[in-house]
């Protein structure tokens, strides 16, 4: 199952399963429609750009860091009539520096509920050409591939499912 999950993650998709004893197991495989071109939201940490596949995004929020509270070891913000867990991309990627007082949260939809990915800034929506990043030296969790925005500088594409998993909050039996 781990091999299937890895293969699906590499394609930018997600795998979820749901088992009920005596009833059966449901596998949910989500794959992007096309591997070549996708809409992506360009976000920044400091001056480095990252691309977030639009298919994984529900909405973008502008957040004041003073409104972030700790709940059961998670950073959360109030969201609708509930709370939203947030994961700081800067921490996941071990990028030095502190997050800003006012930052943006990309609310992602996954099979495990909504999770917010905190970034410094949101630049805008772009159509990107997906290039694979296959070499084992640079295939790290949380990166689905790379693109370039026309300046010859590669921009990493986030694997939202893998980043959300770093929260370790959801339990997938694979």
């Amino acid at each position: 199952m781990m091999i299937v999950k890895t293969a699906i993650n590499d394609l930018g998709g997600t795998l979820a399963m749901d088992t009920r004893p005596g009833e059966g197991t449901r596998f949910k495989i989500r794959l992007p429609l096309t591997l070549a071109i996708m809409q992506a939201l360009i976000v920044h940490i400091d001056d480095q750009s990252f691309a977030v596949p639009q298919s994984a995004i529900h909405e973008v929020l502008r957040i004041d860091s003073r409104t972030v509270i700790m709940q059961d070891g998670n950073d959360v913000i109030s969201y609708g009539d509930s709370v939203l867990r947030i994961v700081y991309l800067r921490r996941v990627f071990a990028i030095r520096g502190e997050s800003l007082d006012i930052f943006h949260v990309v609310v992602t939809t996954s099979d495990f509920g909504a999770v917010g990915i905190a970034v410094d800034r949101v630049v805008g929506l772009k159509e990107i050409v997906v290039r694979s990043v296959e070499d084992s030296l640079v295939s790290v969790p949380g990166i689905a591939g790379a693109t370039d925005l026309g300046d010859g500088r590669p921009v990493l594409i986030l694997n939202v499912a893998a980043i959300v998993e770093t929260l370790g909050a959801q339990r997938v039996t694979a």
Binding site: R131, V133, D135, L137, V138, V140, G152, R153, P154, L156
Partner: protein
Amino acid sequence: MSGPGPSETFVLFEVFGSTWGVRSQLVQSVEMAGHVTPVPNAAPFVEGVTLTRGQVIPQINLRVRFGFPRIPADIRTRMLVVRSKDRTAGMLVDSAREFIAIPVEAIQPPQETDRPGPGGLSTRFLEGIAALGSRIVLILNVEQVIEGT
């Protein structure tokens, strides 16, 4: 060393004051050091990814790979794009500006010893040593450089 014996061609480059050679058939191109995008949580010797001929490849800093301090890139800095076993990677070196033929008999295997090799370097990345007159050229084991860890 002047005989018409068989020889191999090498691209020569410098890292931390030593002259290294890499088999020319493994070298796809020699480029100016272009933009590199850092890749989070990659190994310390991996500078990141860079775009060359429409392909995204890892860039390895050979200084760091060899255990030497990083230096800022300057006009002599080059990236050698090398292929090994279906993998392509860029190697950042201090400079690269020579292409030479080395007679096969001039290349000696590295000494099998636990002592560090030239420049305090372990022999891990060393495939051989060529003496060309007064000049020493260290032959690079590309496969070892690209292999992780």
